[in-house]
Every structure is written in structure tokens, then in C-alpha cells.
């Protein structure tokens, strides 16, 4: 049987093969031309192509707006859910995370249809609100998780030291719940940048996000350029991860 630490070995090999190697391949393909020679042309093409750059900027903008919107709507909801004096039912929490498990495409199509029925022109506004529908549970859940596990004695101690309820929130609860907000951002921001089908459905193909361009290039066999665009995204993921620290695992552990 050997040492139990060796039990990690099969998974280590699996991760190297199916996670590390594929990511390295993105780098390799991004730095190659169609015949396998080293080149920086793919990267250069992105920075010189107004369309790609524009889409990229728009994607980042939409992602930032969507993330802020999710925090704005999701934080109060998470706060109320975690406050035992306001919400005593665990079922309500389940209701909030349940939409995460309904097929996102189907939900998005229905959302778009709802907008159309209500006579709302599909465009950037519907894109934002539709995205917010899709990603709100991913923001609420990690914030709720952190707030729910937060030791109540911190708030009591602050109150005991003279903080009004407002001050308790500003000086204690909010700063201590930031890891939850950060993992929420992590789960909303990058996925928003990279969505492809969802943005098309919500805007009736009017607005393309970065994910769509990657998908189009890969599907049209322009693997090297697609890989280069993916590489740019990887770099951004790397930067945001380093900036935010990885709180995702804590927040999503035991999500069921």
C-alpha cells in the first residue's frame, strides 16, 4: 500500500496531463504560425486589430459592470440570508443557489425571450441584466458563506466597544466579508469576459464578447490566433488571481 501521501500521485499525473500540459500548449500554439515555426505575429495581430481590441475592451467593461451590479444586488441578499434574526430558513439559501444548476443556456434564452415579450430592445442593457441573472447566485453564495461562518462575537465585541450598528457593519462585517466578495468577483468577472453563447443570445448576435472571438477562431481552424487570444486571457486570470489571492476554494467548499 505504501505511504498514503503517495495517493496523490495518480491525481498529480492527471493534473499534469490534463491541466498543466494543455495550458502550456496554449502558450506554444500562441507563439507558432500555422506551420509550427516560432512567431510573435499572433500576439502582434491582436494588438494591431481594432476589432479584437475593441471587443476586448468592451468585454472588460461589461465584466466590470456586471460584477459591480452583482455585488450591489447580491451583497444585501447574502447579508440578509446570513443574519439569523432576519432569515431562519436554510431552504431560502437553497433557493438562491438553485438557479446555478439550471442549464444556463436555457435560462438565458428564456431571459432574452422575456425581454422581447416586454418590448425591451436586445442590446447592451439586456446583456448586462441577463448576465446579472446568470451570475448573481455565484456572487451571493460565497459572500453568504463567509458571512454565515463569521464569528458573531466580532460584531458583539465591536458593539460592546461602542460601535453603532452602522459602524459595526462598516468597520467589522464588511472588511471581514471581503474574502467572500473577492471569490464572488473571481467567479463572476472572468467567466463574464469569456462567455460566448450567452452574450449572443442576450443581444441577438449584436454584441460579441471576447469569448465569442476565441470560439470563432478555434472553430474556423485558426488555432494559433485563438490560442493567442486565450493566452491574453490567461495572463489576465494570472494577474487577478495574484491580486485577489485564491479564496475560491474556501467559498465553494461544501456548496451542496
Amino acid at each position: 500500500m505504501g505511504k498514503r501521501s503517495n495517493w496523490a500521485l495518480p491525481y498529480f499525473i492527471f493534473l499534469v496531463l490534463f491541466v498543466v500540459l494543455p495550458l502550456l500548449l496554449i502558450v506554444v500554439y500562441a507563439l507558432q504560425d500555422g506551420s509550427g515555426h516560432f512567431t510573435l505575429a499572433n500576439i502582434a495581430k491582436f494588438f494591431s486589430d481594432g476589432d479584437s481590441l475593441g471587443t476586448f475592451a468592451l468585454s472588460i467593461e461589461v465584466a466590470i459592470e456586471n460584477t459591480l451590479l452583482c455585488i450591489l444586488i447580491g451583497y444585501p441578499a447574502a447579508y440578509i440570508l446570513a443574519d439569523k434574526s432576519l432569515n431562519r430558513s436554510a431552504v431560502t439559501v437553497v433557493l438562491f443557489i438553485l438557479p446555478m444548476w439550471v442549464n444556463a443556456l436555457m435560462r438565458t434564452l428564456a431571459t432574452a425571450e422575456l425581454f422581447t415579450m416586454a418590448g425591451i430592445q436586445l442590446g447592451k442593457g439586456t446583456l448586462l441584466f441577463g448576465m446579472c441573472y446568470d451570475y448573481l447566485p455565484f456572487m451571493i453564495y460565497p459572500i453568504y458563506n463567509v458571512l454565515d461562518k463569521m464569528d458573531k462575537s466580532y460584531a458583539e465585541a465591536a458593539q460592546d466597544l461602542g460601535a453603532t450598528p452602522g459602524e459595526v457593519f462598516r468597520k467589522i462585517t464588511l472588511p471581514l466579508s471581503m474574502p467572500g466578495v473577492m471569490s464572488g468577483v473571481m467567479m463572476v468577472f472572468m467567466p463574464t469576459v469569456s462567455t460566448f453563447a450567452i452574450s449572443e443570445f442576450l443581444t441577438n448576435n449584436k454584441i460579441k464578447l471576447f469569448g465569442t472571438i476565441i470560439q470563432e477562431n478555434i472553430n474556423n481552424s485558426m488555432w494559433n490566433y485563438g490560442a493567442a487570444l486565450s493566452l491574453i486571457m490567461l495572463v489576465i486570470i494570472g494577474i487577478t488571481t495574484v491580486l485577489q489571492g485564491d479564496n475560491k476554494q474556501e467559498a465553494m467548499g461544501g456548496a451542496v
Binding site: 464569528d151 462575537s153 466580532y154 458583539e156 465585541a157 465591536a158 458593539q159 460592546d160 466597544l161 461602542g162 460601535a163 453603532t164 459602524e167 468597520k171 467589522i172 472588511p175 471581514l176
Partner: protein, 463 residues
């Protein structure tokens, strides 16, 4: 005592959580500047009482006054009290300095004064030079000191401490006890301290308030509580003791363990059943036949660091615990005596189980939410009756097939030749049992009472 010597006054305070009454008609005052300890087993209501004083809980009934002012409805942040929390509750996102400065900054204290006061308080808790440390890098004892510093820097009128030493190891706890006592002396602030550790309470307090099941059992100085416990719960909870059934023959004469003893208590009446408490260090060995009141055989002898702890079987078959500086070997025959002043006589809280019940049918009576068979001669179905069952007539079974109802053992008292158990039944009521069988706390037991052991008397109905 003058009213203004009382900084906190509590009258008729009650609190329930759901169906459970956690505090029941508490009356208590705290003297200005004293070190008062709320002592009791876990779940007795002591922390609830502290949280009501702090303002985190509202009483259902009763009044708490601080400096003569009713503080009902005043939120915690406006009360001139500060709390040291059980697990410290230091803010993890702030360093030591900002933790301590928290309360002062909220009060818009000038920077330089904050600085000065923090330095002073850090010196007091012996944590100077720790200002910039992250609180999570501190040891338990250090966090404890910072928690105290954070509270006292605000110069509260009363400092509330909720089991502040519970998370520390034994050595650290002993050191912190001495430091707390010292801090209390230096600061001159009133301390209200919650603990379940009787030794801690005896060491630290000016006044101890023993609480059990939501009621104050006894309040007094440590010496009072130790030497003159008012009931068997207090006697058992505070220090080691021999608790025995006895009979007050007449004033200043009591009989227990099969012998008559002189004592100093009077006013119990004649031939009254009582509880007798003898501290193990109050039983003396002697060589003199004239001094000796009874004899015993030593069963075991263990060295406890300073004294020896011995268990002896007396000539009449009772087991006693004795502490003495001299050791007597197991098997040795010894002569013993007890001084009249060391015999603590207490009125029995009850001498048998009594319940209000009702006759449900011929030969059937209901109490403890259960139907029992018994003779109902002289009663008609529907009659309300008073049911009496002697302690030793209740059988406890380790299976429930023959049992009328079931319960959990809540409290065990050894009385020299038998155990006196408090059992909480399924219906939430209590039944007291005398038994020779050995049960453990929280054991799940079946309860059986034979029909002949159930006595019914007519219940006086009002109107």
C-alpha cells in the same frame, strides 16, 4: 448597606429561550469595585445573565439598574460596560494597536491621547512592543491580554469577563489568575466574572454567586460558600465534600453514618431529616479512644501533592473521603472524630418525589405524562391527586421494555452508602432516585415504579 455602594442591581430577572427557562427570578446586586464571580455548571444560565448585563440579550421580566438607572433598552454600544469575550473575539483584520484603539476611535478620542492610553494599558497587561503585531500571530495567552487591554482602555464602569481563561492551558491559567487579581486591584473597576471553575472562583472573587438551573443557589464570600454551603448542590460543586443523609435529633445534636454527633446548628426541629456536609479535611485521625467518635478501615490512599486523599469504610458501612497530611495505609484500622463546628447541617430540599397527577381510570393514575398502575381506592376517575414516591422506590433500568417512562441522569451525588440521582424524564420533569447501582451522568435510563410504592393523597383544589 447604602444604595450607592451598589453599582449594579438586578431584580426579578427572568429569561426563557423557547420553552426553556434559563434564568428564573434572579435577584442580585454588585458592589462598586468588587470582584464578583458568577459560578455554575455549563448551561446554568450564567453567561445569559452576563449577556443581559452587557445588553446583548433583553430580559423577559425584571430590571437591571446601573448606578441607579434602569438600563433596559439601552443598546450595548451605549452602555458604559466592556466585555472580555470567551474566545477573545479580537478583530482579525486589525493589528494589536488598532484592536485596542477601536473603542477610543469610535469615541473620537484625540490621536495623542489614544496613543498614550494604549501604551499605558499595554504596559499593564505586559504586552508593550506588541502594537504592530497581527493578532493571529499571538499565542492564546497573549490574545487574552490584548482582549483585556481592548476592554479596559475604554475605562468602563464594569468589566464583564466571560470565561476568559477557559481556552488556556492549566499553567497559563494559573498565571493569568494572579495577573487578573492584580489588575483588578490596580484598576479599581468592578469585575463581573463568569466561570465554571470553582477553584478559579475561590481564588479570584470577593463575592461568589453560585447559579444552577437558572436560579441563584447561594451568594457570599468564598469562605462562606466553602464553609457553609446552603444545599447539597453547592456543597458538591464547590470543593470536595462528603454529603450524607442525617437526622437532626434535637438542637445541636445530629445523627449520621449511624452515630450521633454534637454540632452547632439549631432550629431544625426534632427528628428532622437533613443533609450533612463534611469537608474531607475536617475528619481527624486520633489515637485516643475517648476522642474517637467512630472507627473505619482505610480502603485506599493516594498522595495529592500536599496532602493524602484516603477513602475509608466506617464501622457502619459508609464510605467517606478524608484528606490529611499523614498517610494511613490501606487495610489499617483507624479512629476518627469530627469537630462540632465542621459539621454543616442543611435542610433537605425534598424528602420524596411529589407530583400533581390525576386518576385516569380505576387502578390507573397519570403523572410525568405517563400512566402508572396503582391502587386508587377512595378516588374516582378524573380526581386530581398528589402523588408521592419515595426516592428509593424508583427503579432505574438499563432497558426500556419494562419501564413506564424513560429519562437521562442529570446529576449524581454520592451519599456515603448510596447514590442520589436527579433524572430528567421525557416529559421534562425531574425524578429523584436513591440507588446502589452505579450510573453515569447522561445515561439513558428506564424508569419503573411498582404499584404498591405509589401513594396518592387528595389534592386541595382552590375554588
Amino acid at each position: 448597606m447604602a444604595q450607592d455602594e451598589r453599582i449594579i442591581n438586578i431584580e426579578h430577572l427572568s429569561k426563557s429561550f423557547g420553552d426553556k427557562k434559563v434564568l428564573d427570578d434572579i435577584n442580585l446586586y454588585v458592589r462598586r469595585g468588587e470582584f464578583l464571580t458568577l459560578l455554575g455548571p455549563s448551561g446554568c444560565g450564567k453567561t445569559t445573565l452576563l449577556r443581559m448585563i452587557a445588553g446583548f440579550l433583553q430580559p423577559d421580566e425584571g430590571v437591571i439598574t446601573l448606578d441607579g438607572r434602569n438600563i433596559e433598552g439601552i443598546p450595548p454600544h451605549k452602555r458604559p460596560l466592556n466585555t472580555v469575550f470567551q474566545r477573545y473575539a479580537l478583530f482579525p483584520h486589525l493589528d494589536v494597536y488598532d484592536n485596542i484603539a477601536f473603542g477610543l476611535k469610535l469615541r473620537k478620542t484625540p490621536e495623542d491621547e489614544i496613543d498614550r492610553r494604549i501604551r499605558k494599558v499595554l504596559k499593564l497587561v505586559a504586552m508593550s512592543d506588541y502594537e504592530d503585531r497581527d493578532v493571529e500571530t499571538l499565542s492564546g495567552g497573549q490574545q487574552q491580554r490584548i482582549a483585556i487591554a481592548r476592554a479596559i482602555v475604554n475605562q468602563p464602569k464594569v468589566l464583564l469577563l466571560d470565561e476568559p481563561l477557559a481556552a488556556l492551558d492549566l499553567k497559563m491559567r494559573k498565571d493569568m489568575q494572579i495577573e487578573l487579581k492584580e489588575m483588578h486591584r490596580k484598576l479599581g473597576i468592578t469585575f463581573i466574572y463568569v466561570t465554571h471553575d470553582q477553584e478559579e472562583a475561590l481564588t479570584l472573587s470577593d463575592t461568589i454567586v453560585v447559579i444552577n438551573e437558572g436560579k441563584i443557589q447561594q451568594a457570599g464570600t468564598p469562605a462562606d460558600i466553602y464553609n457553609e454551603p446552603v444545599n447539597s448542590f453547592v456543597a458538591d460543586f464547590i470543593g470536595e465534600s462528603n454529603i450524607l443523609n442525617g437526622t437532626m435529633i434535637r438542637d445541636k445534636e445530629v445523627s449520621f453514618i449511624g452515630h450521633d454527633f454534637k454540632c452547632v446548628d439549631s432550629g431544625f426541629g426534632e427528628d428532622m431529616p437533613v443533609d450533612v456536609v463534611i469537608r474531607p479535611e475536617d475528619i481527624y485521625f486520633t489515637d485516643s479512644d475517648t476522642k474517637a467518635q467512630f472507627t473505619a478501615t482505610v480502603k485506599s490512599c493516594t498522595f495529592k501533592g500536599v496532602h493524602y486523599e484516603m477513602f475509608v469504610d466506617t464501622d457502619k458501612g459508609y464510605e467517606l473521603m478524608i484528606q490529611d497530611y499523614d498517610a494511613y495505609e490501606a487495610g489499617e484500622e483507624v479512629k476518627l472524630y469530627i469537630k462540632p463546628g465542621d459539621i454543616q447541617v442543611m435542610r433537605k430540599e425534598r424528602t420524596e418525589n411529589t407530583y400533581e397527577g390525576s386518576v385516569v381510570a380505576d387502578g390507573k393514575v397519570e403523572f410525568l405524562d405517563t400512566e402508572f398502575e396503582c391502587s386508587t381506592e377512595g378516588f374516582a376517575p378524573g380526581d386530581k391527586v398528589l402523588v408521592s414516591v419515595a426516592f428509593k422506590k424508583v427503579d432505574l433500568l438499563d432497558h426500556d421494555d419494562e419501564a413506564a417512562t424513560v429519562g437521562n441522569v442529570e446529576f449524581i451525588l454520592y451519599k456515603g452508602d448510596h447514590y442520589h440521582l436527579t433524572v430528567r424524564t421525557e416529559s421534562g420533569e425531574k425524578i429523584w432516585v436513591d440507588t446502589n447501582d452505579i450510573w453515569d451522568k447522561n445515561d439513558y435510563v428506564g424508569i419503573r415504579i411498582l404499584p404498591k410504592d405509589i401513594r396518592l393523597t387528595k389534592l386541595q383544589e382552590n375554588g
